[in-house]
Subunit: 563 residues, 2 copies
């Protein structure tokens, strides 16, 4: 029996239910497409008068946010953007960057948000590889694009975002004038299938060329809702943009704050003093970031001794040390520790708190909470497996690779079927991260595959050594890598930044480690130095490694790119 519904989609009643005929999935009376576009469509009406975005001296209500997004989408269409096109944007965490996350998909195109710290050549590679037909550039970043303007083969239109006085924009249209060319009226969606691409996010490509990770509307929708469930964002929440929006589309929070009608607070630059001022000024309730950002907040003289309001800090990007989690707890923050990759729309696991933990000593709690945890509610599964995809024993010791499944795993790499097939081998996404599985079902990262130190045939987790050093009161930041060793092949070396005014010697730190972990895991040498970091604040071990291995040959175990 075929039932007609109003939009002409055939549905058939079978024994197990009403089933669509095998055809593209479209909207129907009882089935709406899963897309983040829906969030703003709703709240531009429901919260028309509520402040949606505070961005420096400007602020926009949800009604205005919706109108500006409609303007952007219709202007892009007038400018010739077609369904399936890509539009790239290079912009700090400002209102236009948020608007792009809705306006570009609303025009039918996919967002390519580019890391603002990349070199001109890297930017050109990503723009060309994605095939972006339009490029939006914040005037502050014009200098990064200017040298390669002539190399951007597919770009037909450059738009300058110039809301920040005193900078020199590229040649091209001004963003606000471009918006003026569009219409504030609701734009009809072009999306017909929730599996269409909403964004292409490029990996950092430390082991090769950056790869374009494809996000779908459905994946972004579910992950956005998943973030709300895990971090407890409510309509009255205020979210500060300490996490770059170009990084996995801000872990999908670009889309994920809007459905609750909560407030976005823009931030051009991660400056700890400025962040503390904004937390106070705007009544911030939620912020996200990598451990290095949180360390800089904790060590800033302008920090409060104890928070006088609720603040939920969601932390990921690198494994936080138990010491850091303990300090954030002492500050009075609620810490949500999550873990994921560009290939999983940002977070895929969360260290879900168990009620029994509250009665344990603080340091033990922090150790439990420093684990990466269990799969998000809104996704599917995470496992730690050997090379045959067999689960490693849940003994908290055996190393294996983290593999994932679920609606927040990427659709694939753009234009790279070989890399996609490799990443998806055996029906699971291979993270390239090495972890153990604990008896309680929580995973704990031990390393990137390529960061594991193999010394005399023994696997050493560089993270384990680093976390041991973090317990030393003088240590601010540390990175441990394997360096060449004639007898053992590799041996651990620690690169350490001390806290201002603190003192420690190489011998003292090595001895500190030997008191706590197996001697073969302890660093053979310690160098006191500043640490090289990525734009998202991750320590770039490959920079340290390149220097130490110059002239040596190192066997690389893994092939995944860091994200």
């Amino acid at each position: 029996m075929i039932l007609a519904n109003g939009l002409g989609v055939g549905i058939k009643e079978t024994k197990s239910g009403l089933q669509r005929k095998p055809m593209a999935i479209t909207n129907s009376v009882s089935r709406s497409l899963q897309t983040p576009l829906k969030f703003l469509k709703r709240n531009a009406v429901v919260y028309a008068e509520k402040i949606a975005i505070v961005d420096g001296r400007r602020q926009f209500t949800y009604g205005e946010f919706g109108e500006r997004v409609n303007r952007l989408a219709s202007a892009l269409r007038f400018a010739g953007i077609e369904q399936g096109d890509r539009v790239a944007i290079l912009c700090p965490n400002t209102a236009p960057m948020l608007e792009a996350h809705f306006g570009i998909p609303l025009a039918g195109a996919a967002v390519v948000a580019i890391n603002t710290r990349l070199s001109s050549k890297e930017i050109a590679y990503i723009v060309n590889h994605s095939g972006a037909r339009c490029l939006l550039v914040d005037a502050e970043l014009a200098a990064s694009v200017r040298p390669v303007v002539g190399e951007l083969k597919t770009v037909q239109q450059t738009i300058n975002v110039d809301d920040h006085a005193g900078t020199s924009p590229l040649e091209g249209l001004d963003y606000e004038s471009f918006l003026e060319s569009g219409s504030p009226d609701p734009v009809r969606w072009r999306i017909k299938d929730e599996e269409e691409t909403i964004a292409v996010n490029y990996t950092s490509g430390t082991t090769g060329r950056p790869k374009g990770v494809l996000y779908t509307h459905r994946g972004a929708y579910l992950n956005a809702l998943g973030e709300l469930l895990e971090t407890g964002v409510r309509p009255e929440s205020v979210y500060l943009w300490t996490l770059p929006m170009f990084h996995c589309n801000g872990w999908c929070f670009t889309w994920g704050i809007t459905p609750m009608g909560a407030r976005h607070i823009g931030l051009r630059k991660v400056d700890p003093g400025e962040i503390w001022r904004m937390i106070e000024q705007h009544g911030v309730t939620h912020l996200n970031g990598a451990p290095v950002v949180m360390v800089s907040l904790l060590n800033h003289p302008g920090r409060p001794k104890h928070l006088d309001r609720e603040l939920t800090i969601t932390i990921a990007g690198a494994p936080p040390s138990p010491t850091l989690l303990e300090q954030l707890e002492e500050l009075g923050a609620t810490v949500v520790h999550v873990y994921g990759l560009t290939e999983t729309y940002g977070p895929h696991t969360v260290c879900a708190t168990q009620s029994g933990w509250a009665s344990l000593p603080k340091s033990q709690q922090a150790r439990l909470r420093a684990r990466q945890g269990v799969a998000y509610v809104a996704t599917d599964d995470v496992r730690v497996v050997d090379e045959q995809l067999v689960d490693v024993p849940a003994d908290g010791q055996t190393l294996g690779e983290v593999v994932m499944q679920g609606s927040n795993v990427m659709a694939g790499y753009h234009n790279d079927p070989e890399a996609t097939a490799r990443a998806f081998r055996g029906g699971w996404f291979h993270s390239g991260d090495v972890a153990v599985m604990h008896p309680d079902g929580y995973i704990e990262l031990r390393d990137r595959i390529k960061d594991v130190i193999i010394s005399g045939g023994e696997n050493i987790s560089s993270i384990e050594v680093e976390q041991t050093l973090y317990r030393h009161p003088a240590v601010l930041q540390v990175a441990v890598i394997g360096v060449p060793h004639e007898k053992w092949g590799e041996t651990p070396k620690a690169f350490v930044m001390l806290k201002t005014g603190a003192e420690a010697t190489e011998a003292e730190l090595i001895e500190f480690c030997r008191e706590q972990i197996a001697h073969f895991k302890c660093p053979s040498s310690v160098e006191f130095t500043a640490l090289p970091k990525t734009s998202t604040g991750k320590i770039q071990k490959f920079v340290l490694r390149d220097k130490e291995w110059d002239g040596h040959v190192k066997h690389v175990q893994g092939g995944k790119s860091e994200t």
Copy 2:
């Protein structure tokens, strides 16, 4: 280009993204089925040691909950239940009822949860119409089934749930023994398409035979997550089952508490004194119900003057009066006012709070919050339209029918393509509810189509008259219907229950109305009487109407069944 993924689903990269070949939707590395089964699969592991259900003297951890559900599912399969079968259950809000909501779908079948207040004949109709092959009956309700046991044509197995001493069960297997026949090990899912049926819920059928509303796994999944977002359930929440689980599967909270790992508190009977004791004893943070339940809680002598902890009350089932909302606010509860129907998995709209309301006088706030509001975040849209599906003016006055779209609209009516086509005409689900659209985009119910009183050609909303009477301090409950009138066709009549010890005369109440609303809307007569109610606590106006209209002919405007 076709990419292979591990599970052999072909995906093709097109301009707008990677797209599946047109085929049934199955799990893949980057796309997992949306089904509530996932929630318990996850939390039986993640919260294995956490109390999931407190049910009288028994309690189960999430680990035990998961094992019992696996036992139920595998026992059903051993007993011959196949994919697409239906399994019916007649049971109060106990652990087995919750287990059925996961165990039956896990076996591959759909849950048919039957209203526990129905007559034997009605139960037989639903069991037969759904084609249930298995029937679970709580011993307390055996007497309702016993007279029709011989008429249940499709039922091959009856299972008695007998965890309540002193009752006399049906002949058949005991539930706990049945569980023993199953295995606690994880059961492999049979679901292959997220559009398969997870439940069939029968409408109350006041205007005809009950209709079987088909819920899908995808719809139940999204609506369950939607409930969490709207009501703010967190992992530490405690949910008391004051709302019947048979009613829209407890507005999908049967599935919706579990993903957060929150605690279910069972409740056999809605008794206000018992509810207050349980709120205190278990630290209840959330409960749901119809306005009449809330009225009975407020008027119980055992109630606290003011709550000393957070309690979120989600209210729906009939429009709550502003007076009731004000009283709940004074009690210190957080009220979430929602509205929906069996055909929308329970709630579809929510009266989202605007920050500006806080500065208004309490009574005005209550009036704003007594409106049914805007579409849920996790669904699509709600409109108020005329017969040509054109939106009525957003003037807060023009009556129209509420129509809905979205993933929480039913897939259709079981075995009733004509009723489905009628309900879905024009591509929208027709609720049969009459409402106005306010200038701020909030809908406000005025009546069921059939409850609208047409007096001398003027439409009178019975709800408007009722809410006027609720403002009178002596009134406990009221129902207004149209009664025969020689000149005007119909005229409003009020049926009133006074508060214990309170006094008011007919003339006084009529005069009270005339001071506040147009005279033609005021009741011509008032009868002081007890009010007939449905099992979910709704006032049954049709009972009053049948009595008043006996021997008269009334034109019925609408055709939808009450839920």
